[in-house]
Symmetry: C2
Subunit: 231 residues, 2 copies
Amino acid sequence: MSGALKDAAIRVERPAKTLRELALDKVREAIVNGYFRPGDRLVERDLCAQLGVSRTVVREVLRHLESEGLVANLPNKGPIVAQLDIDEARQIYEIRGALEGMAARLCAERGSPEIVAALEESLTAIRNSYRDSDMAGVLANTSSFYQTLFTMVDRHVAWGVVNLLTVRINHLRSMTIKTERRGIEGPLQMSKIVDAIRRGDGEGAQRAAMDHVAAASAIAEAVLSAQKPAE
Amino acid sequence: MSGALKDAAIRVERPAKTLRELALDKVREAIVNGYFRPGDRLVERDLCAQLGVSRTVVREVLRHLESEGLVANLPNKGPIVAQLDIDEARQIYEIRGALEGMAARLCAERGSPEIVAALEESLTAIRNSYRDSDMAGVLANTSSFYQTLFTMVDRHVAWGVVNLLTVRINHLRSMTIKTERRGIEGPLQMSKIVDAIRRGDGEGAQRAAMDHVAAASAIAEAVLSAQKPAE
DNA sequence: AATCGTATTATGGCCTACCAAATACTGTAG
DNA sequence: CTACAGTATTTGGTAGGCCATAATACGATT
């Protein structure tokens, strides 16, 4: 019985991540940050060599990424990095709008000061990252802003869905935040969400959240349709 | 672009489903319709024997189901059928409400008679299935009702999300539809959605869709909390 | 020269067999 | 009756091989 206490206290983060999970993260990251480009073939045996793992592991990873929508499987040709078409991106933003709007409304209706405080903290972090031109930081802190929004009202499933969809548009996100004026307008829109939550204005919070996503979507669409002809 | 048309016309169906996909469907179905119960261990080699395939395939299938949320992986103990707790179910219904509400609103705003016709067709099919006490038919036709709702306004991604979430609560669904009076009220609520869409009343359609899901959620909650103590 | 087989290669799908480490089980000695 | 050692079970992971198919290259025939 004495054992139960000790390992709860000194619990080290991830004592045993399986090789598969490590490989999964590596490949996902490689796709998300553009090391593998959309349309690239992902040849099993090559990945084995590059990752230093066996085909079994690689195949499981590819299966997983396939179900995440990051990888598409052409019959008789094998896996490639999924192409993101503009319509799909639009749909993903729309879903995010619906879910983030829902979460924002719930936050407002709960009316707890801790939520506002936590959101404001993320928001300041975002502003600082923008000021330092730390784009990776912007992304991370934006994520944590939304994570707060969802988890403070215990909507882990919805947060999971949003996360799942977000990886598919991640390179879009990194382009939208680099847009001129986004450094001002983005945080401004987000602070409107926070304001509405502070006022306990559910309707307003929902609308503000949806507006913010809609703005991001519009920028993404512009970016995407501008680069399509270039290919 | 001319290619898109022609092969849609003569498209031969999928003659060659891979063994993996077959196995995936089999196992998923076995979980969904209760052959494997929540908490059951899914021993790789046993599954190999039962499915008549190799471990390679079984492992990929388990990975896939894990990312679908139907299977949970205990570290160093292996995969089990995921347990559905009541809070998670509630969240899933809530998300469905948000997305189906969105789709219903879009259908109403588009105001195309084909949509109404297609929905009405599904609705009659549901009524017939209820009349014949064909519960599998009710589920299938309800699915196709919602599929229509999403795909008629080209929201394939959202439909995918709803589908993904729905398998996790499938056994709940089959219990809720067996509830007394559900055979009347269910179709009634759905016809309210259709009515609102026919009127072009986006707001009303959204509310009707959310009401319908909320009703299902309430029943599911009752069912679930009634059976929990029994275990 | 153009076209039509045919060999080769690349690759995915699937299988068997094996090993190591963790966990659960069991039987025995003290 | 407990503690401990040994054994079985099972996952995580590896290695390698077989077969089918698609694409490519190459050579032969008209």
